[in-house]
Symmetry: C2
Subunit: 121 residues, 2 copies
């Protein structure tokens, strides 16, 4: 049963939702972009559609929230955080919201995924 001697991360690679939240997010240049606020899951499918990057604000208010397609996040053990390949410039033009969540409908999904050059299915 050698396949069971590897750490969890290397075998089936599950991560707990409450460990993802508040984890730092960096770009490949090592600049901190923000932290993960939460992620958005399809109630029926159980599929994570977005990890929401939070930047700025104070005590949970006034922050900007950038929904990112889940596939864009890579965990970096060295930085103990997620790395996404987005420049600050690209992020400044990205779909975002404040304290009020948008309607996460298909049109919004196409807008967000489209901004990052991905297909929303």
């Amino acid at each position: 049963m050698n396949d069971h001697t590897l750490p969890t991360d290397e075998t089936h690679g599950l991560i707990a939702s409450d460990k993802v939240e508040d984890t730092s997010v960096y770009n490949p240049a090592g600049e901190k972009l923000g932290t993960i606020a939460n992620f958005m899951v399809g109630k029926q499918s159980g599929q994570v559609e977005y990890a929401v990057l939070r930047f700025g604000g104070f005590l949970g208010l006034g922050a900007d929230h950038y929904p990112l397609p889940w596939d864009m996040l890579t965990y970096d053990t060295e930085q103990d955080g997620y790395v996404v390949d987005i420049s600050r410039d690209k992020l400044e033009n990205a779909p975002r919201y404040g304290d009020v969540e948008p309607s996460f409908d298909r049109a919004y999904g196409e807008q967000v995924y489209g901004h990052y050059g991905l297909a929303y299915s």
Copy 2:
């Protein structure tokens, strides 16, 4: 754009991870089984494999944790919580862990899903 006038829950049905956590879980008889501790997500796939039901304990210590296949949970707006069709007896024999997470590998997945009569894929 009539399809955009429905509440989010009725259109694409996304839910935020931090709203799932600490939500109450009931069985169909209305008995409270516990609360959602967190859920476990495939790092690569973004697929939620388990919602973890927490029962007992104090200040986050000493609780029992029952990983449940995501598909078993149904949100009940009347009870403002999740409903799972598990009797207390069934739950008492279910796979569980304490303060230390198990290795969420394939064998564990088959054990948990199998207990509830589901296939682990």
